[in-house]
């Protein structure tokens, strides 16, 4: 039972007692190296979940997940519950313009935008996990973690035109994703992040740059997402490079 996941105590704000160091756990037994980190958090940080993005060649991980992203600090979007994220709600929430050129900008690391009274910064990061843990991103930056809306942008460079590929997304909670300016996937409802949860119709990756833009909304609970491209057989597409410019 997770009361938190349905009854957000936003009034209490985000009061996590940092206190002493966090004990990290642990080795994943066998299988692939999914989601295990050693957390050391005497000074709050986005480590070990993220490192700063570099200009080094970056391909998707062995499962095809895209780990290099530009993430905007969370936009305040209070919601007491994730159950409000109906299709119409999130379509409205995600097509609202919060900052200029929201649907076209390819921001730079450190660039700032103004959203109402908030001044928010873009961060070029690489997730150390297959999934991008937005909760840890916000928490590490001492930003609100609940009742928030995140924007994410990345550039997928394809060596040739690839037809009939699909964008496969999992997110916590609801999210919406665009490829080269066109809506690709929408995940409505009180979602938990499951790889390949929602998959786009057949898409074409252009030769060269392709821009993915995503928005994730969350009330209470943790928030994260994972994105990869898969082929007609559902196999991951890894012959790509990922940049943030």
């Amino acid at each position: 039972m997770n009361i938190k996941n349905k009854t957000l105590l936003l009034a209490a704000g985000f009061v996590i007692l940092a206190g002493s160091g966090i004990q990290g756990y642990s080795a994943t037994p066998g299988g692939k190296n999914y989601g295990t980190v050693q957390v050391v958090d005497t000074a709050r940080s986005i480590a070990p979940y993220f490192i700063r993005a570099t200009t080094k060649k970056k391909t998707p991980d062995p499962q095809g997940f895209i780990q290099r992203w530009l993430l905007l600090e969370p936009i305040s979007k209070p919601n007491r519950s994730n159950t409000v994220f109906t299709d119409s709600y999130i379509r409205t929430a995600f097509t609202t313009e919060y900052f200029p050129n929201q649907f076209t900008v390819l921001p730079k690391d450190g660039e700032k935008v103004k959203v109402a009274e908030q001044e928010l910064t873009w961060h070029a990061l690489e997730s150390t996990l297959f999934n991008v843990k937005l909760f840890r991103f916000a928490y590490g930056l001492r930003k609100p973690v609940y009742g928030v809306l995140f924007w994410a942008v990345t550039v997928v460079n394809s060596p040739q035109e690839m037809k009939n590929v699909r964008m496969a997304v999992g997110s916590n909670s609801a999210s919406m994703w665009w490829l080269n300016g066109k809506e690709a996937v929408i995940l409505s409802g009180d979602r938990r992040m499951v790889m390949d949860d929602c998959v786009s119709t057949r898409l074409t990756l252009n030769k060269g740059k392709n821009i993915i833009r995503g928005a994730v909304i969350n009330g209470p609970g943790m928030s994260d997402f994972c994105v990869r491209f898969i082929d007609e057989k559902g196999a991951p597409i890894k012959d790509l490079t990922i940049t943030v410019e």
Binding site: N2, I3, G19, Q23, Y25, T28, G31, V39, G170, N172
Partner: protein, 483 residues
Amino acid sequence: MKIRIKIMGATALLTVWLAGTVTAQVGKPFIHDPSTIMECEGKYYTFGTGGGGLISEDGWTWNSGATRPGGGAAPDAIKIGDRYLIAYGATGGGLGGGHNGRILTMWNKTLDPKSPDFKFTEAVVVTSSDGIEDNDAIDPGLLLDPTDGRLWMTYGTYFGFIRLVELDPKTGKRVEGNKALDVAIDCEATTLMYRNGWYYLLGTHGTCCDGANSTYNIVVGRSRKVTGPYVDNMGREMLTGGGKMVLAAGGRVTGPGHFGLMDLGDGVQKMSCHYEADFDQGGRSVLGMRPLLWKNEWPVAGDNFKEGTYEIESERRGYALELVVDFVRMAGGMRGFGRNTDEPVKPVPSQELADVIKTWPTGNIGVRIGDYMFRPHQKWTITAAPDAGGYPGGPYYKIVIAGTDRALAATAEAEVITVPAFTGAPEQLWRIDQLIDGTYRIMPKVVPDSKEKLVLVSIGDSTPTLAKFDMNSDNSKWNFKTH
């Protein structure tokens, strides 16, 4: 054959007692996050969030009364030797806004609060979460590994990882030096079970605690090692959110969560859970019990038996249980070849009870198994017997020929007959359990003058009897078919 069944009235009563829904537990089965059901000294127990729990005399009618100290949330229970180990989360998975969790264990010799032996040991903390890490230490689930006797516990919620730790089965304490392993994400209310070389990790996905709108559902992944990785039917690890559905909303209940295994032996397994909302019980959270089936080595919830009119088909050959009465031929015969195909097509009415019942004896009538021809002597109406109690997961049923009160009954000679009228006698009450392969076991509540537990069996293709159940024989298995 000496018939010792009492015959109460010769006139067939054409009333069919309708129990309404009998798919949920009866009594006051109101609970959230039920622990695995334990049997103790002939009674059944389950504990829930908040400290209390339910007791049942028969596994079907449940009422409050179980007692557990410590409060908190979502306990689990397991019997080890002659003691019961209870694990519970002292916190509430976000209650109060934090994720500082603690899980404790404690022992008791009995679960009966009226017993002089009823005394919990002092609870000990076996794991915790600091409120920041990717884990919230609540929702424990226990497994005593049948292969080596080691005791494992999974725990956690949506706040980070589901983790696995090892406990000492003698003390209930954490094994010294044991480190938690991450085994899943994005689920809660987990537990483990073992079968045929596979370890299964059950988890609950979806939205908790939202009544009729709760999307809670139970999923599973499996591994050859208790330590994982746990993988679903698509090859997705539960560490990436994978999980194969075991049970979701249906009928008039939503939000099944908190899986618990109840292995009754002889191929009968039940799973317990709670439903977030039972629409027929005011939308309250109630205890649920379902048959647990296995398909391709994956567990899946069966459906509780539904009242209705059925062919009772023997798994042995596929013949149907029927009265020993004269077969009444229907008019007509085979239409000749070469006839005009433009002649109008007229439906042939089915044979009705009124067409044949006058040809039947009025006293006891024997039972056999024959070719199913959807005739009145082959159609059985099965309804919950009023005030007859039940057994884990179901009420006792009466089985009568459709449209009559002629009831299937066990005899002292361990045979089956029908009596002209249902009296409620225990030999006329039937327990129906769905087996793990999806077929059914049909068992009289009692066999007169016998203490043996016998079931309906096909001793020949066309001959039923009562005999000991054999899960490895199709003789012991039946299907209920609607046509």
